[in-house]
Symmetry: C2
């Protein structure tokens, strides 16, 4: 049985990853299984740096290959903001409605063609030695003028996908996993993990 | 025989990749084999965007899976500069000595502990449909106060690797491939390519 730890507190992400690798002979631990592992603060200037901070700390502490992700929204008109501040854009961590309100107010009056944005997810895969590899998934879209849809979380209700004619929050889980930044990042990472754990 | 195109004009990168996959039953084309493929300008705001611009254009034009890379230097003290402008930092594309001079002058008087930097390489892998995956390799170090070493190119003579006690330009090719951003990015990409071409 091959062992790996996913450095996340997020049950949703953990479930998504466990589903993805359910057919492989891997035991996937999370931070819940190793409560003594304390991750450093996410002080990175990029998704890549934050993912690396978490993966390296977990790999070193657990003594096994670790993966960690960091993700967020980058809005062209705002020069890539909110970026690493996506979850705490309006100040309070994880307050989706305040964050969405702030984003809409910053884009007030900005026409459709200037509202391009992308969701980005970087996954870091670290060895206990510190060696780290990265995979990334990106999902492109536009910021709407008002929220639509009840699925998902974060900025999903404001993220318009032209090819679907829907916001991310109007997709079901299967559709979202196919096209989302995290789904794509996981799919890019999987072959690497298979090789590294081999 | 599986076919793939590497969207690069750079013979060094092409050789590196062909060496890496020499044992696999792949035919690796480059832009030299398909002179009619004109890549769009690299107008992206990040390595990821520039790599994607090249890979998507090549995959669509060639009708096969394409990969492309973009890479550069990010200096903490300069807020991530020169970044996507690494090759043309001093104005003229690919003028290594001018670029190095400019970097040293911007860091004049900055103490060692504030001279942290990283080389970063993002590889995009695109399908003709446009679907794109990304892998990234990063190499961390410090900017020296003066150039050292004659190997490599670009900022290599200014890039200090504490674990080697050498600059990147003092490494031989084998050492460099082991630890360089591009070497790591290629190694992260290879399992993905094997899966996609399967």
């Amino acid at each position: 049985m091959k062992e790996i730890i996913f450095a996340t507190q997020n049950e949703g992400k953990l479930k998504e990853f466990r589903d993805l690798v359910s057919l492989l002979p891997w035991r996937v631990y999370s931070l819940k299984d190793r409560p003594k592992i304390l991750l450093p603060e996410e002080t990175g200037a990029s998704f890549r740096e934050n993912a690396e901070i978490k993966a390296r700390a977990a790999a070193k502490a657990a003594g096994m290959i670790a993966l960690a992700d960091d993700s967020g929204l980058e809005v062209d008109y705002l020069g890539g903001e909110p970026g690493v501040f996506s979850a705490r854009f309006a100040g309070e961590h994880g307050n989706d409605s305040k964050n969405n309100e702030k984003l809409l107010s910053l884009l007030k009056g900005v026409p459709e063609e200037k509202r391009a944005a992308c969701f980005s997810c970087v996954i870091a895969v670290s060895f206990p030695s510190g060696e780290t590899f990265f995979c990334q998934g990106v999902c492109e879209g536009y910021i709407t003028h008002s929220p639509r849809g009840n699925n998902g979380f974060g900025y999903d209700p404001l993220f318009w996908l032209p090819s679907f004619g829907k916001t991310m929050a109007e997709l079901n889980m299967e559709e979202k996993n196919q096209i989302s930044h995290r789904g794509k990042a996981f799919r890019a990472t999987l072959p690497l993990l298979e090789k590294l754990l081999d």
